[in-house]
């Protein structure tokens, strides 16, 4: 979307024009959803947070400074509503102790064959408290002191949650690695017996062995 087009849409939204609002919503849905998805536990939760974010955008659009990048402003609001959502759902958030968390090896992550959806899935599987801190620290670049202030926790808790989040993520990457290797081995084995194994899932094969 061009600057001029964006400017016109924002002007329409300042006048609370419903059509402009919808066009802006559609245009930045994907961008905003990407932020909400990594803070939320699932798509529906993310959609709820996203709507809260756009609600604030439309109500406060007249305060948007046109000289600054719109996406920066929008992204910040999405992050803020995600944090609000986290705060509102603190009662539901739980923290779990990590067993054998100390001994997870660090690997080289860049060579892992993991895509956006795999990583999003991992982030979403984290308990909410870990996920929020990991997002703020690792992706949005805040310090522990800043996170402590934003989430109304102390810096120690923030560090501890980040540590646990990383351990869990490492574990998930390892598990994903293992699954991938097993799958590859299964494929190899199947190819030896000259069966086209493309459509056969490893679980199917394993089930056969157990029986």
């Amino acid at each position: 979307m061009g600057e001029e087009e964006l400017h016109q849409l924002v002007q329409g939204c300042v006048k609370q024009d419903r059509k402009s609002q919808k066009m802006l919503y559609k245009a930045f849905y994907g961008f905003s959803m990407a932020i909400c998805l990594r803070y939320a536990g699932n798509r529906d939760e993310a959609a709820e947070v996203l709507n809260q974010g756009f609600f604030k955008v439309f109500k406060n659009i007249d305060r948007y400074d046109k000289d600054r990048p719109f996406k920066a402003w929008l992204g910040k609001i999405m992050m803020n509503v995600s944090i609000d959502y986290y705060r509102a759902n603190l009662k539901m958030a739980y923290t779990e102790d990590l067993e054998s968390a100390e001994h997870i090896s660090d690997g080289d992550y860049t060579d892992k064959n993991l895509n956006y959806n795999d990583l999003l899935d991992m982030i979403q599987k984290l308990p909410q408290a870990y996920r929020t801190v990991f997002n703020l620290f690792a992706i949005d670049g805040y310090s522990h002191d800043e996170i402590a202030e934003m989430l109304n926790i102390n810096a120690g808790t923030s560090k501890s949650n980040l540590f646990k989040a990383r351990q869990k993520l490492k574990q998930m990457i390892l598990d994903a690695d293992l699954r991938a290797n097993n799958y590859n081995r299964d494929i190899d084995y199947i190819s030896v017996v000259a069966i086209n194994g493309v459509g056969i899932r490893p679980s199917f094969f394993n089930n056969g062995i157990r029986e």
Partner: protein, 425 residues
Amino acid sequence: MKTEKDKALDDFFKKNLEDPVNETGYREEDWDALEQLLDKPKKRPGIVFWLTALSSAAALLLFFGWLFFKSRPVLNEQQQAVVIHHTSKNADLNKANTQQSNIGKKEELKHNDSMLTVITEKSAIGNEPAKKQLVFIGPKQVLKNIPNSGYKGLSSNNNQPIEETQYSNNTITLAATNKALIFKPATVANEHTTLTSVTNKDIIGELHKPAPLKEEDENEVTKLGFLKHPQYALTFIGAPELNSTTSFDGSKTGTNFGLLFSAGIFKNLTVSTGATYSTKSYNTDVANYHTNYTFKNNPSEIEADCRMVDIPVNVDYQLYNKHKNKFSIGTGLSSYIMLHESYQYYYANAATGPTGFTVPHSGKYFFGIANVQATYQRQVNSKVGISVQPYMKLPLSNIGYSQVRLQTVGVAIGLNWKLNSLTKP
């Protein structure tokens, strides 16, 4: 070493999650949900504000009402006391002149050639001695105090791009002092991705400060102050009221019910009109009764029974509109179309004369009455609301066959039905 590995993990997630290859697809139902959110009426306001507003309005109404009726040339308390005093003092002297009326059971006293009538006991025809009443009207509803949930100050002076670097071949590299990575939409061209790193930490602090939100979009206005989407509503009202010609001492009750149509055309201004059927009965004396007919003996009391259609044209100014509560004050003019008008005459001192008269051709009185009202309206749901409206109707001209200055106070209870669905975009 450990820190570096952690950093590598963080960067791995950052790199992959910040730039989704396939953005999540748009869902129409998400927009529908947001639209519902945008259309939802605001949250409920603090009880303190609107209770204060309502009581001030009620106090103002009472005060002006009192001023208005106090300034009328009527028998005030002092005069009455004097008369009563004279009654007892001169009871013996005037014994011969004083006798019980067959009709009204009233004492009549002649003093210094002026004739004064003093009501000393309840009469056979239902006239009551002067009474003073304090009527207290107040809303019973209790509302929760929920603070506004708006946000302000979304921009920040520190929100300056610190570094802007261009990379080719789709390389994504982060600026060193990054806080949040944002793509600038218009500068992406020829496989060049411009990355802008901003430090807008301050925004978040500001964003979480509550500030009053703007009015709902239903109050969108054009440059001239017209509402872009006028709000129309139908209101059914019913009201008990008090009618009188002088003060409200000895006034009689009536009813008023009908249908009003209102249109919010300007910002905060609502124009309404409609028709109500009103029964008004009142007592008056000969001094306020102006007809061509000359009574041989002036009746001591005249009782009027009128039924009419009241066509008001009112303008209301909205003082408060938050969440589900609205408070407005208004004024306007009413026209009365008489449907029935009859009078009963009661005589003192055994005097005789006509006992009653029904006006054969009732008249129409255009814009002869000024309306003053205060309205509290509470929205029950998006369509239906209820309202309480204390009002006064003050005479600008003489009304009816007898040309009386008829005044009314009442409290209308209304049921409102919003008709704005047709005007929604």
